[in-house]
Amino acid sequence: MSTQVHANLTEEQVRQISGDLDEPDWLLETRLEALEALEELEMPDVIRTPGRDWTNLHELDYESLVDPLNAAEDKDQLGPDEVDVLSWADAVDEHEALLEDHFGSVVDPQENYLTALSTALFSTGTVVYVPEGVDAEDVTIRTEQNSRSLFNYTLVVTEESSSVTILERQSTGTEQDEQYYSGVVEIVAGENSSVQYGSLQNLSEDAYNFTVKRGETDTYATIDWIEANLGTQLTKTEVSTELNGDSSETQIVGAFYGHNDQHFDLDAKVWHRAEHTTADLVTRGVTDDVARSVYEGVQDVGRDAWDTSSYQRENTLMLSDDSEADASPKLIINNHDTEASHSATVGQIDQEDLLYMTSRGVDPRTARNMLVEGFFVPVLEEIAVDELREDLEEQIAARLRKRE
């Protein structure tokens, strides 16, 4: 509780944000309650290994980072006609009942200090609503941050037997010394619907980023996440699915590449809470220079989760001796009728692999880059959205080319 922003955060500011968006009273109340709760709330859990907290969220100077009334961004929110892809203000106007049903239903606004801060202060966002039976591809959301802080909110609701693929990207337009991006994403996947939500975070390397993305599935629903992190000085994210419906499924695919002194704290979580559910968690990442990555993956199989299948793999490749990586896959099983696996590795480029390639004439630099690009292929192959895959591939290749 050492870091607080109360000094420059006021109820008036929150009222002004909500008023500018023409929000109904219940929403204003939710925001004000979140603001008030800041005093009591803790920072989100960070990953700990013996003797060490990997990520220090208290060290951030929120007081100077958070500038709620001067949010500025450049945003695209595009999608096919048969789905609603709305700015937050339009959604408030057109879909109030939908928001009242689902806003804050997956991620509790008062889950921790940073979610509450985000709830109190978000001034922009996107609502994607997919009506029953509609199959929609190519919903794209692009946010370019131009201000000191930006609080963003995304809600996806899919009705029965619909499907949608969404690509949401964050980058920085006008750069400043330090910037703060906060994002909350909630997905409510209706019965037998399917969502693929891909995220590509490529904010400035001076930026801080806090993001929670969580979805919940109804019966036979599927939520597939792609979580790609390339930017920021410090990223703290959680990507998670609550498998609440029988026979529902989720996949969490992660890719990250940290260099310079970037720091990534990445959580992937799945809660199996119904019968016949399946989860597949696959993350691959690279650390270079003095970058640090810490990954925690949790598969939580509940007491009533009969016939669960749950798989998790994480691999980190360290390109430098001074980078650091830690990964811990966790499996909590409260129902014995479970087929599960979990593994994590942290390693360096295999010298025998390198020699094999150089002995055929490939110079060591190209050989190493090919090995790194090849290392990401198993996660790239899981990405159904071509644009996201190609974008990510290109950015990885570009970062590799800049080395040495």
Partner: protein, 302 residues
Amino acid sequence: MARLELNNLHAEVAEGDEKILEGVDLEVESGEIHALMGPNGSGKSTTAKVIAGHPAYELTEGEVLLHLEEDEFGEEIEIDEDQRTWDLLELEPNERAALGIFLAFQYPAEIEGVTMTNFLRTALNAKIEEREELFEEDDGEDEEEEDEGFESSPMEGPADDGEVGVAEFQQILQEKMEQLDMDEKFAQRYLNAGFSGGEKKQNEVLQAAILEPSIAVLDEIDSGLDIDRLQDVSDGINALRDEQGTGVLQITHYQRILDYVEPDRVHVMLDGQIAKSGGPELAEELEDKGYDWVREEVYGTA
């Protein structure tokens, strides 16, 4: 013509002081096939790895020289008189490859996510480029700097540049794969990933066929091959010699492959040295009598 010359080569494991090679003398010339035989642990594989430039070994004495004749790389590469002998121990593995050295690994690496086609075309182009650099006239000192500027262009990827283009390479690859009786699906598979032992060995010979080495060292290329594949692999090795004039140093435990790939010379390695050399009949003798008689003959003890 090219000639690989090992003189009094001594090597030990870089981490630790275990001596492995204790004075190896050996010469292999273009168009010749040499078999290198010997019991396990005698230093055969180490010899192969040292020639390729494996970083796990420290060379404590001796030299590995490659002698090239003027026309070794055709008309386009002019080899000056002072560029005809190379001390391989001074060169990186990829530079050795550019000069025409090829090592077929006993246990080829499995490289996930890199397709055969992509890898082999990259290797072929890198080899051509490196060779041009090695034989470049000395007056072009500023060339390196130009390269740096090149790299800063964000769209410049390795994918589509290089001497041999995608279409041309596909054709070369297809042709060589047919010769070796390999399924064309291999071209799109990841390099050795999930290949059977035999497929990996076949793939090593395919790579040699594409890279056209002056001297190829084949480390137990025959192990784990069934009879049909042994035939394919042997045809591939003979084609290297007959069509490209490659000199072959073939490391093997078995006479079997020598029935298909007839060696000009057979060498027996014992305790880190070449203990005995002879014609093809030596291999047959070894097959009958084992290695102990060589030891006896050389050291006078059993």
